[in-house]
């Protein structure tokens, strides 16, 4: 009885988190600006960590917590590297005198306003 409730509850939580990850993926594809996508990727990393932690209790395997901790560090590193690379690329283009990272249509819209 206890095992059925325990595993059913954890499985339901994992399914909800999976649906939220899919929604975040949709946001990352839709996001009009570059930083929208980085925010969505950051959220996907957080929810993956929660998913791994729930799965560790589902299987009762404690080594998955180590995977969880490593994944947290890698997800933080991904955000740091992405922001540094895009900032550097933007400044490089600005020095060359070309247009910035945004889309051309967005620039036209802003000029029309």
């Amino acid at each position: 009885m206890y095992g059925v409730v325990y595993h059913g509850f954890l499985l339901t939580c994992m399914l909800v988190i999976g649906a939220l990850i899919l929604l975040c993926l949709i946001r990352a594809v839709l996001g009009p600006r570059l930083t929208d996508r980085v925010v969505a990727v950051n959220m996907i990393g957080t929810m993956t960590i929660v998913e791994i932690a729930l799965f560790a209790l589902y299987l009762r395997e404690s080594y998955l917590f180590d995977v969880c901790l490593i994944y947290a560090m890698i997800s933080f590193l991904a955000v740091v590297v992405l922001t540094k690379i895009y900032g550097g690329a933007y400044q490089e283009r600005k020095i060359k005198g070309t247009s910035h990272l945004e889309y051309e249509e967005e620039d036209k819209e802003v000029e029309d306003l």
Binding site: R33, T35, I49, A53, L54, M73, F76, T83, G87
Partner: protein
């Protein structure tokens, strides 16, 4: 009996955390600009993960893996605001029409 008490209390914390994450995703879809969206995303990153990991700590009982879960919370509370700050800096750097989205001080805030 003790296991049922643990399941109910830990499950309540996990459900609160899941609701917080749902509200965070809802906010990310509802707001219209990155600096607003980041507010709701950071709420899910800190409060949602705190409630869920705390619920899992109660659910798993007290042994060494409980400390690992606490370490995840500590790491996230240190790293989450830093990553939000870096994304915000990138947005302020690459958005040349920032004044149309929000108030900007004349000296650039420095």
């Amino acid at each position: 009996m003790m296991a049922w008490v643990q399941l109910v209390i830990g499950g309540a914390f996990i459900v609160i955390g899941l609701l917080t994450l749902c509200v965070a995703v809802f906010g990310v879809f509802r707001f219209h600009y990155v600096l607003n969206r980041m507010h709701s995303a950071a709420m899910g990153d800190s409060l949602g993960i705190l409630f869920i990991i705390f619920g899992l700590m109660i659910l798993s009982g007290f042994h060494l893996s409980t400390l690992k879960l606490a370490l995840i919370i500590v790491f996230f509370w240190l790293a989450g605001p830093v990553s939000s700050h870096m994304i915000c800096k990138l947005e302020v750097l690459i958005n040349e029409n920032l004044k149309e989205e929000c108030e900007v001080p004349e000296d650039g805030g420095f």
